[in-house]
């Protein structure tokens, strides 16, 4: 008989997410993703000055702060047809890159790795063997016997203290945990080291953003980072070199430890390349603009339908109609009044809560579509697009990772393996490495441009009478983020954020086609419905925007098991 399991995370900060699965014969047969993302921002923004919208939007979410600020200024600039000085583009790009690396590191090591790495098993590892293993996998300097021994001691005393914190309710000893104690211990060592490096990259964001969390240096039309190489209080060479040192320090960790860790996890869990593909229409946008108009980008993006990279269509500019015209949101299965599929400029938000109806309305999330189809967004979508667009660093890190996986797994693992749960995780780490390269390029571009005598950072926005419409997109850590603004007589008339987790966590659309989370769960193995670790693995591989604990509700026994998302 089919058994229903409900994974119900609760957080008010980034929005609730609840996953319902029907499990039959040890596999998920049907899934529903139900959530409450932030859908009320227009209530606050209507009637406000478009120049300050970004200060509000970056408070939407505790994880994705910077990204909502960036998308907001881009949307208003687009509505006004503005150009942005290239210094401002490079400074924004460095912030985007730093934020992305921080986010990908935190997700990989501190939120997602613990679905695959058994902390309790790591305590049993032989430090000497672990060091040997680490040194065989990469040249990372932090794999010495002493490093591993220290990390294990630290873990032991932490576990002994009883305050388990993030390790509090993992599925330790679960039959789906397959790594040896030494591989587990190596991952734990890097987990601890990653805490140091993510701090470093956050410092870079703080230097440029003037504050973190919640940067303060943006403006519609540019940035508020005065550049004067002769002043000690502005952006000068000393600060620029400090930034470079921070990037380089993190760069080494990402390119040696992190890339080899994801390859090892991927190889030891090679069976997971067969699960979790789900929706294989992939949408991503180009980012890291290199000119004032937003027509040249360091990182490509675009649309790949049906997983067929031969059918890739690039998105080319901030004005690109292929993007602007093909985004819709449907509310057929969402708790809003009516049954429509509309363009973001034309949307309204009138709540109509109906309770959870399996075949009716069951989510606060609207269901976005691209060319009338559900689309998966995120690092995998972006990495595939960059790979097919011939982006050098992407190709290098993808090929290198697949080669390492193949040699550990002793079987040929190629690009098709990326359409999977484990592939999404690998793509995130690849993107993190790509972002490190990008930051170094952006740093150089900024220094060269300043060196040429250009210190311009801001163009003043002018608001004409009448109505203007604009959209701003950003390839955020969780995927395509777009803000859509309608301005009338210099005030905001309508504002919509179509966020990455909406694309991925959306419910069935106007044609009843399931969203990416829902589709990816079907066929997932579930060894023990009481401990659905496998469901968490697939949902977590999307990096759901939830820094939260979740309730497990087993409806048959009415028993509530509390589970913490790690």
């Amino acid at each position: 008989m089919a058994k229903r399991i409900v994974v119900d995370p609760v957080t008010r900060i980034e929005g609730h997410l609840r996953i319902d699965c029907e499990v039959d014969g040890g596999k998920v047969t049907k899934a529903w993703s139900s959530g409450q993302m932030w859908r009320g921002i227009e209530v606050i923004l209507q009637g406000r000055d478009p120049r300050e919208a970004w200060l509000f939007t970056q408070r939407i979410c505790g994880v994705c702060t910077t990204v909502h600020a960036i998308a907001s200024v881009r949307a208003v600039e687009n509505a006004l047809g503005m150009e942005v000085p290239v210094n401002a583009q490079f400074i924004r790009n460095l912030i985007i890159g730093g934020h992305g690396v921080h986010d990908h590191m935190v997700h990989f090591y501190h939120l997602c790795a613990l679905d695959w790495v058994d902390i309790v098993s790591a305590l049993k590892a032989d430090p000497r063997e672990t060091a040997k293993l680490g040194q065989s996998l990469s040249s990372w300097k932090g794999n010495s016997h002493q490093d591993i021994k220290d990390a294990q001691e630290r873990l032991k005393s932490f576990v002994a203290s009883g305050q388990l914190g993030p390790f509090g309710s993992g599925y330790w000893g679960h039959s789906a945990m397959k790594l040896s104690p030494e591989v587990n211990m190596l991952a734990v060592t890097h987990y601890l080291q990653a805490l140091y490096y993510q701090r470093k990259i956050n410092q870079m964001v703080a230097i440029l953003g003037s504050k973190t969390p919640h940067i303060q240096n943006l403006a519609v039309g540019g940035v508020a980072n005065p550049i004067n190489l002769d002043s000690s209080v502005t952006l000068n060479m000393e600060k620029l070199y400090h930034i470079k040192t921070l990037i380089e320090e993190v760069d080494e960790f990402v390119k040696t430890a992190m890339l080899s860790d994801v390859a090892a996890v991927g190889a030891f869990y090679a069976d997971w390349t067969g699960y979790g593909a789900g929706v294989t229409n992939y949408l991503s946008v180009p980012d890291m603009p290199m000119d004032s108009k937003g027509t040249e980008f360091e990182l490509p993006g675009g649309y790949i339908p049906n997983g067929d990279i031969g059918k890739f269509t690039p998105i080319k500019s901030y004005q690109d109609e292929f993007f602007e015209k093909n985004v819709r949101e449907s509310i057929k299965h969402s708790w809003y009044d009516g049954d429509w599929t509309r363009h973001p400029y034309e949307e309204e938000t009138v709540p109509n809560y109906t309770d959870f109806q399996d075949d009716g309305k069951y989510s606060w999330v609207k269901s976005p579509t691209f060319q009338d189809q559900p689309a998966q967004v995120g690092p995998l979508a972006n990495v595939l697009a960059m790979y097919v667009a011939g982006h050098g660093p992407t190709k290098k890190y993808v090929d290198q990772t697949l080669k390492t996986v193949s040699s550990i797994a002793k079987t040929e693992v190629g690009i098709p393996a990326l359409h999977s749960t484990i592939g999404r995780i690998a793509a995130r780490v690849v993107r993190c490495a790509v972002l490190n390269d990008t930051m170094l390029n952006q740093w150089q571009a900024l220094v060269n441009n300043i060196d040429s005598g250009d210190t311009s950072i801001y163009n003043k926005p002018e608001f004409p009478k009448g109505e203007q419409r604009g959209f701003g997109y950003h390839e955020a850590p969780r995927g395509v983020l777009s803000h859509w603004v309608v301005i009338e007589d210099g005030k905001i008339k309508n504002y919509q954020c179509v966020v990455p987790s909406t694309w991925n966590a959306g419910p069935r659309n106007g044609d009843d086609a399931p969203g990416p989370y829902e589709a990816s769960l079907v066929g997932n193995p579930v060894a023990d419905p009481e401990k659905p670790l496998e469901v968490l693995r697939t949902v977590h591989s999307f990096d759901p925007c939830l820094a939260c604990a979740i309730h497990m509700v087993d409806k048959e026994n009415e028993e509530i098991v509390r589970v913490k998302v790690l």
Binding site: T11, I13, G62, G165, L195
Partner: protein, 180 residues
């Protein structure tokens, strides 16, 4: 002595934003000794590690669900704080409990933590605090002042007629214009 006053919360969900609002009020009302730093932590978790790490004293201000009437102010000291976040009364406990755990793992937990909370009433979408929570916040501001005074770090009040008195979020929600 090295003190951080950290306010956390989401200012777009009314009373949820009490921590951030309290920081802004403190900054508008007082000048602080150099040993004291104030941070608006928003809804962030791990990103705050650098700000919190290795402090002698952390004064944390947050919305706190404890079953009392809206506006009730609470104070927790020392060992009670991690325990509070463990049993999840605050909306931010998860980010913060992981944060405290990673600080423990890296030996950089503040020597002492005092948590000031206010029971939220209205957490719907919107700006500004409910009247009860405004009142509760005043109690917290006074308690923070006393706490600093007891450490010999008494803040100095900014005269009421000086210009810079309303914070960004408070000017907007009260419908008042900031003094230029």
């Amino acid at each position: 002595m090295n003190v951080l006053i950290l306010g956390i919360g989401n200012i777009l969900l009314r009373d949820e934003g009490i921590g951030v609002r309290a920081i802004e009020e403190l900054e508008c009302r007082y000048t602080f000794p150099p040993e004291v730093e104030l941070v608006d932590g928003g809804t962030c978790g791990l990103e705050l590690r650098d700000a919190i790490g290795r402090r002698d004293l952390l004064l944390l201000i947050d919305a706190m669900r404890n079953g009392g009437p809206p506006g009730t102010a609470y104070r927790l000291d020392g060992d009670e704080v991690p325990a509070h976040f463990h049993t999840r009364i605050s909306p931010h406990q998860l980010g913060i409990s992981d944060l405290l755990a990673t600080l423990t793992l890296t030996d950089s937990l503040p020597a002492r933590i005092v948590l000031f909370g206010v029971e939220p009433g209205d957490i719907s979408t919107g700006l500004g605090l409910s009247q009860e929570v405004e009142t509760g916040m005043e109690k917290v501001l006074q308690a923070v002042y006393e706490e600093l005074k007891s450490c010999g770090l008494q803040p100095e009040a900014i005269p009421a007629d000086e210009a810079f008195r309303l914070g960004f979020w408070s000017t907007r929600q009260n419908g008042k214009e900031a003094v230029p």
